[in-house]
């Protein structure tokens, strides 16, 4: 990569502490994000995949400083996001936005779509009165909602339309970077493609950068030229989509890929079935976080004791596995 990336994440750690026990005397630490580094270049999409509970949502929210980080760094356009004071942070918020998984819960049911989209315009005083109305209308049209939607309420729309409204709300402040947190997972398959294409159109037209979070590898492949695979709070494999999809190096990625359905009933594949649930992020296993579920035939003692670091095994293709090159 030549130019400075738009978003740089370095060794980001987000732990949640909560009190447990009868009197809240014992503390439990959930290690949601455990030392993640990644870059998103301007106008680029980085896909982030992993099982539910692996920390991808927390990572997205920490990058936007919606969740407090424990350590590490996030730089946006060279500025340290966690060093900003509140006024500077509010200015920064204009430049980075988020779209949530559940369009139901991310729209306030008591606000009309128009007022929801207007919120960012008002907060940042981008326009007022009739000009603001005009902007709202233009944004709603841009995301493909019918004229007259502004006066209507979330319950009057379908899931796909609500997600379009959320996209319009995020676009209202003219951001450069959007965290798309499972933006299509809650939608019908037929609607998913429409919303994905809308996101791709908007990216081309507005020059947006996306961090595209999903558990659906097929969806990520469609939108992201570069993919990071996350497991238990860590990136375990990272590289160009073509490389990862054609020659996955990490046993976890291999297992995930064999779970993607192939639209050809004649194809026979050796399916790698992952046994059990991912371990608890409260008490992650030592060594390689994946070792308890790993089915690699060469699994050995170092997998249990030494945590593998990301190593570059092909150009731009990194993997955190002791056995990947064997």
């Amino acid at each position: 990569m030549t130019a400075t990336p738009l978003v740089e994440v370095r060794d980001l750690v987000t732990h949640f502490t909560h009190r447990v026990g009868l009197f809240g005397t014992r503390r439990e630490v959930v290690q949601a994000v455990n030392g993640v580094s990644l870059d998103v270049a301007a106008r680029e999409t980085l896909g982030l995949v992993g099982e539910s509970g692996c920390g991808k949502t927390t990572l997205g929210r920490t990058i936007l400083r919606l969740v407090a980080r424990t350590s590490g760094e996030v730089r946006f356009d060279g500025q340290d996001v966690f060093a900003l004071d509140l006024a500077a942070l509010r200015r920064m918020r204009r430049r980075m936005q988020i779209i949530f998984q559940d369009p139901d819960g991310s729209l306030n049911p008591r606000l009309s779509i128009g007022r929801a989209v207007r919120e960012g315009i008002e907060v940042h005083r981008l326009a007022r009165g009739a000009e603001a109305d005009g902007r709202v209308e233009a944004l709603l049209a841009e995301v493909g909602l019918p004229a007259g939607s502004a006066a209507r309420y979330p319950h009057e729309f379908s899931g796909g339309q609500r997600q379009r409204a959320c996209i319009a709300r995020a676009l209202a402040v003219e951001p450069e970077f959007i965290v798309c947190d499972e933006p299509v997972s809650a939608l019908d398959v037929s609607v998913q493609a429409q919303v994905l294409n809308l996101l791709l159109d908007l990216q081309a037209r507005r020059g947006l950068s996306y961090l595209f979070i999903s558990h659906d590898l097929a969806v990520v492949r469609h939108v992201a030229p570069r993919v990071a695979v996350m497991y238990l709070g860590r990136i375990v494999e990272h590289g160009p989509s073509d490389g990862i999809y054609q020659r996955p190096l990490h046993p976890y990625t291999q297992a995930l890929l064999t779970a993607v359905p192939v639209p050809d009933p004649k194809t026979k594949r050796a399916r790698v079935v992952l046994a059990g649930d991912p371990p608890s992020p409260v008490n992650p296993p030592g060594g390689c976080p994946f070792h308890p579920r790993c089915q690699h035939p060469g699994k050995n003692e170092s997998c249990r004791t030494v945590r593998p670091e990301l190593r570059e095994l092909a150009p731009g293709h990194q993997v955190a596995c002791h056995l990947a090159d064997r």
């Binding site: 936007l64 949530f100 008591r110 907060v123």
Partner: protein, 281 residues
């Protein structure tokens, strides 16, 4: 259509709720117009010959043991009941919402302090407390009755509001507002208050009836708003000794009391049904 208008429409379609609301409106109107509609409730035209008279053209609901006009006293009594009932309910709800919001938004320490305080307050018997205060404070004005009933009645509301705030805080639309750069005050005003309003309105409207009964109970015992100011409670007290010879003395305020409480409860139930988010649009 906005959620508030949908709720208004649901309410208007609910026959009992509408009946309750109409009755409440009529009561408020009657209480407001009482001085114009009826004679002086304190006048004792003839304490010897006009006492305990049955209803007649001159006294539509009869007279009490002091020859005072019962219709006039009942309408004037409505003023005390409504002022205390509505006033104390509004005040209590405001206090409860304030404490609940603070507890829900503030840190763990403040939250714990406030909510453990509420736990303690809820364990105190409200009626005994009020009896003790008004037994000592003989000249308590109506405002003091409103204040004390409110101060001893906001605890449940604060719990409801705190619980709503805690769940709303985690809502994605609040996260979206933060991501947009909306300030804390803006989030409270735009996203929290409109959601808290519905349960708070319901809890206040259902509380009015209870407070009216509580005030009547205090008045019946001669506490709170004192005679000769007419209250339904002290009117029933006046009729207690002549319950069999002149039943109308206690009957008029008693019926008024029942009607009022039923009206507020019907309207409150209707509000709850209309505002319940689970009632599908």
């Amino acid at each position: 259509m906005s959620p508030w208008r949908l709720a208004a429409r649901r309410f208007a379609r609910n026959r009992p709720a509408l009946t309750g609301a109409v009755l409440v409106a009529a009561l408020v109107l009657a209480a407001l117009l009482a001085p114009l509609l009826t004679a002086d409730p304190l006048a004792q035209p003839d304490p010897v010959r006009l006492q305990n008279q049955p209803p007649s053209a001159a006294h539509l609901l009869g007279t009490d043991p002091y020859s005072r006009d019962i219709l006039s006293r009942t309408l004037h009594g409505a003023r005390v009941s409504l002022v205390v009932g509505i006033g104390a309910a509004l005040l209590a709800v405001t206090l409860g919402a304030g404490v609940g919001l603070t507890a829900g938004l503030a840190g763990r320490r403040t939250d714990q302090l406030l909510m453990r305080g509420v736990d303690v307050a809820l364990s105190l018997p409200r009626i005994v407390l009020l009896l003790a205060v008004f037994a000592v404070w003989e000249e308590a004005p109506a405002a003091a009755v409103v204040l004390l009933i409110a101060v001893t009645g906001w605890f449940q509301t604060s719990r409801i509001v705190r619980a709503s705030v805690l769940s709303l805080r985690e809502a994605d639309f609040v996260a979206a507002a933060r991501a947009l750069g909306t300030t804390g005050a803006g989030i409270v005003r735009r996203h929290l208050l409109p959601h808290i309003a519905a349960p708070v309105i319901v809890s206040a409207s259902l509380d009015v009836g209870n407070i009216i009964l509580l005030e009547a109970g205090l008045s019946y015992l001669g506490l709170g708003v004192r005679p000769p100011t007419p209250t339904w409670g002290n009117m029933i007290m006046d009729g207690k000794d002549v319950l069999f010879s002149a039943p109308w003395v206690a009957l008029a305020p008693g019926l008024a009391l029942v009607l009022t409480v039923v009206a507020f409860n019907l309207a409150g139930d209707g509000l709850r049904d209309a505002l319940d988010p689970r009632a599908a649009a």
